[in-house]
Amino acid sequence: MAQAASKIIKTEIYDEGIEKGIERLTQQRIDQVINHVLKNEVGARLKTYVDTCVHCGLCSEACHFYLSYDNDPAFSPAGKVKQTIWEILKRKGNVDAEFIKRARLIASTECNLCRRCAMYCPFGIDVAYLMSIVRRICHLLGVTPKYQQDTVHSHAATLNQMWVKEDEYIDSLMWQEEEAQDEIPNLRIPLEKEGAEIFYSVIAPEPKFRAQLIYQTAVLMNVAGVDWTMPATPGWDNSDMCMFSGDIEMMGRLKKAHFETAMRLKVKRIVMGECGHAFRSVYDVGNRWLLWKWPPIPVTHAVEFYYELFNEGKVSVAQKYDKTVTFQDPCNISRGRGLHEMGRYLARTLCTEFIEMHPNREHNLCCCAGGGVINCGPPFKMKRILGNRAKAEQLFAVKARGAETIIAPCHNCHGGLDDIVHHYGLGMEIKFLGDIIYDCIEKPV
């Protein structure tokens, strides 16, 4: 595995978005953008982090890239900062196109913005924030991986991340309603029901190719007697690759549409599906860029919502999932929101045998797909998979103790873990909580 990792490091990865982006750069443009960002978009926070870091390197072992690439210091969080924003500051912005290319690769394909390192830094320096500044600079310079930029374009054109057209989305919901009515004849996916208690929001991959998740949620909502709705307008998608590419203006546009859809529907809260990055966008980053200190309409992540339903007795378990499970804590809802104990409550409620992977909870290792890294697409797939050998080792260890199924309540975790499971031959199943809930709950006969 180490050999493969070395090979990928040394192999030049061609990405059309990055290569053509740097071809169009001029020194004047680089100077202008960097000066603009440093002067107008960052302030005390960057200065504090830069002034505070004592280069101790304690962050290194927090990073799955560093661990997976044989403790190569270039992959340590401090090393990534040193190669990018520190160098930009040191050179007072006087960097060339090749530097920008390397900076984009580091910030967008070698860092998941998972914030694990911030917990190991004695001063709590948020390296994810520093990498986000680098991403912002690269976005303004037009140097973005092709596949990620395409997703951002989809967001801009359709307000969802997968080019789902307005009619296709509605049609998917109606299709899932019809399918689910074969199982529960009076099941309904209520569209545009003003005044419902809950607006259920999803990321675009659900109506696009994971429609069974909408089916499963519809069954759960109907069994639990939840007063819910889904909109029939753009604003239904809670995802946000713009936050990760550095296109924060588009990020704001997406979040405005999402929350204003909730306001228009007069719902009490938004319940969102099992997605980590979208939670970060609606709960922390996107809302705040728009100046909402907190989400203007409260947001509940699926894990917290499921916990409520079981804890309040609105759904019950008919038969437990009988394979031994372990739990992947998604960064954005564990480190970002502290939902790890609720996740365990659900795993134990639904499954006969639950065992921990180590490390776990807020210390868990990232899946290496989040932070927009998986959205950089096929060119970077192997770099991502090899960059998380540490996760494979973590999973081998828990598998050796009996785990057969990984519960991962996050779309990015699913994608990342699926690649790791296949590449390293782990032979483990990956499930959403929703998959297991659907299989295990008491349903009307």
Partner: protein, 425 residues
């Protein structure tokens, strides 16, 4: 405009339909919708297995469909729905379907008099707008952001004008989107086009556009302003002089510009949903004077009153002397008028409604699952299982309460006409 004066404004309480009885007739009844004049209540119902229809005032439409959704009453009290029969979609109006059928149809809109019914439609993977059963001649590969003119006679929509395959990022950045007005496309393409506005005479369209990934501006009839900004929000035409104004982001803050030139002389952390008073003399907007605080600003001057959670659904009184909005603080909702909040807080509040003489403002509110109407901060004593937005009589002396009561016989839908003073004292 519809003539509310022709409606029954005689004081009294009249049972329109006992929706509870519908349960004996149908095994599937969706949430009800009520006509503007309060005379009709309707729901999607299932008559037989796989056969859906609409029940209005206790009588189901004769025709049944595979699917029925998006019930909406026109301003002139006709009931519309989007219906599918044998997989073909169309629009049904008071039980009669359009001649044209589509592979899908959505986003029903009306003009103020309700005469024109406009929808977005797709057939054979081609997209277009259909207006009162007449599809546009021109079709597009996709569309979004439908708007209609204030008289309801024209429609505009964002369309894709250049074919684009997934992954063609540089082609996208050259501009593949434009606007079609009554089917005719602007000559110029943009990287993106979003929210739009028709001029008050219906002759012009202004739109939020992006000319590069970084340059946002406003285009009027396809011509972008010379100035660009790091972001913009929806433009609006002035009813007074036809100028176009829009919130724009400059140096990290938001201000209002008009025809590309400074309009308000101050900026805010956020500024959106600006609106003109009906006479065009005043401009108001939802603003954030500082991080996490929200209020209204009129002609650039913000209220002292602020809310922490949000401000939304602002509206000017007909004479422009008053401005009302919804504010939310610590999870509780209320109405504010000219910077003064109502004392009572609610679990939800709907957009305030002014009386035609601008003296009164009323709103639908909800607390602990019960609904009522509040006028000038004073709630009707009675609460309901459901209530719709209040409607003032043309002289402003009476108010129509459209509500489902559940005290004696659950589900009785009543239309009440009561003197406003019964609530305000």
């Amino acid at each position: 405009m519809f003539d509310a004066g022709s409606w029954d404004w005689d004081t009294g309480r009249r049972l329109i339909s006992d929706t509870h009885q519908w349960k004996d007739m149908f095994d599937w009844i969706e949430e009800p919708y009520v006509s503007p004049d309060g005379e009709k209540i309707a729901s999607v119902v299932r008559k037989e297995e796989g056969e859906y229809s609409i029940c209005q005032n206790g009588t189901a439409w004769e025709k049944t469909f595979d699917k029925v959704w998006y019930l909406k009453f026109t301003p002139d009290n006709r009931l519309t729905a989007l219906v599918s029969d044998m997989g073909e979609w169309t629009v049904a109006v008071d039980g009669n379907v359009w001649d044209n059928t589509f592979d899908f149809v959505w986003d029903t809109r009306f003009g103020p008099d309700g005469q024109n019914i406009i929808v977005a439609a797709q057939k054979g993977m081609k997209y277009f707008v259909a207006m009162s059963d007449i599809p546009w001649d021109n079709e597009f590969s996709t569309l979004s952001n439908l708007i209609i003119s204030r008289d309801g006679k024209r429609a505009a929509i964002v369309v894709q004008t250049v074919p684009l395959k997934e992954g063609e990022i540089f082609k996208f950045q050259e501009g593949c989107y434009s606007v079609a007005v009554d089917g005719k496309t602007w000559e110029k393409n943009f990287v993106n086009v979003w929210d739009m506005d028709f001029s008050h005479d219906g002759m012009h369209v202004a739109a939020e556009v992006r000319t590069t990934l970084y340059d946002y501006t406003i285009a009027v009839d396809g011509v972008p302003w010379d100035q660009s900004y790091s972001s913009v929000w929806r433009p609006k035409f002035s009813p007074k002089d036809g100028s176009v104004s829009a919130p724009v982001r400059i140096g990290g803050n938001w201000t209002l510009v008009r025809d590309g030139k400074p309009f308000w002389n101050r900026s805010f952390g956020q500024l959106w949903h600006h609106m003109y008073s009906p006479d065009g003399e005043k401009v108001a907007a939802i603003v954030a004077p500082k991080y996490g605080r929200w209020t209204m600003a009129v002609d650039g001057n913000s209220w002292k009153l602020t809310f922490g959670d949000l401000v939304t659904d602002a509206v000017f009184s007909p004479d422009g002397s008053k401005l009302a909005c919804i504010g939310k603080e610590d999870g509780k909702w209320t109405i504010a008028v000219n910077g003064k909040p109502w004392q009572e807080k609610f679990d939800m509040a709907w957009q305030p409604v002014f009386s035609p003489d601008s003296r009164r403002v009323a709103a639908k509110v909800e607390k602990k699952g019960r609904y009522t109407i509040v006028i000038d901060g004073r709630p009707l004593k009675e609460t309901f299982a459901a209530v719709w937005d209040p409607v003032f009589s043309p002289d402003g002396d009476k108010i129509m309460i459209r509500a489902i009561e559940d005290k004696s016989d659950p589900g009785e839908y009543y239309r009440h006409i009561i003197p406003v003073t019964d609530i305000t004292g």
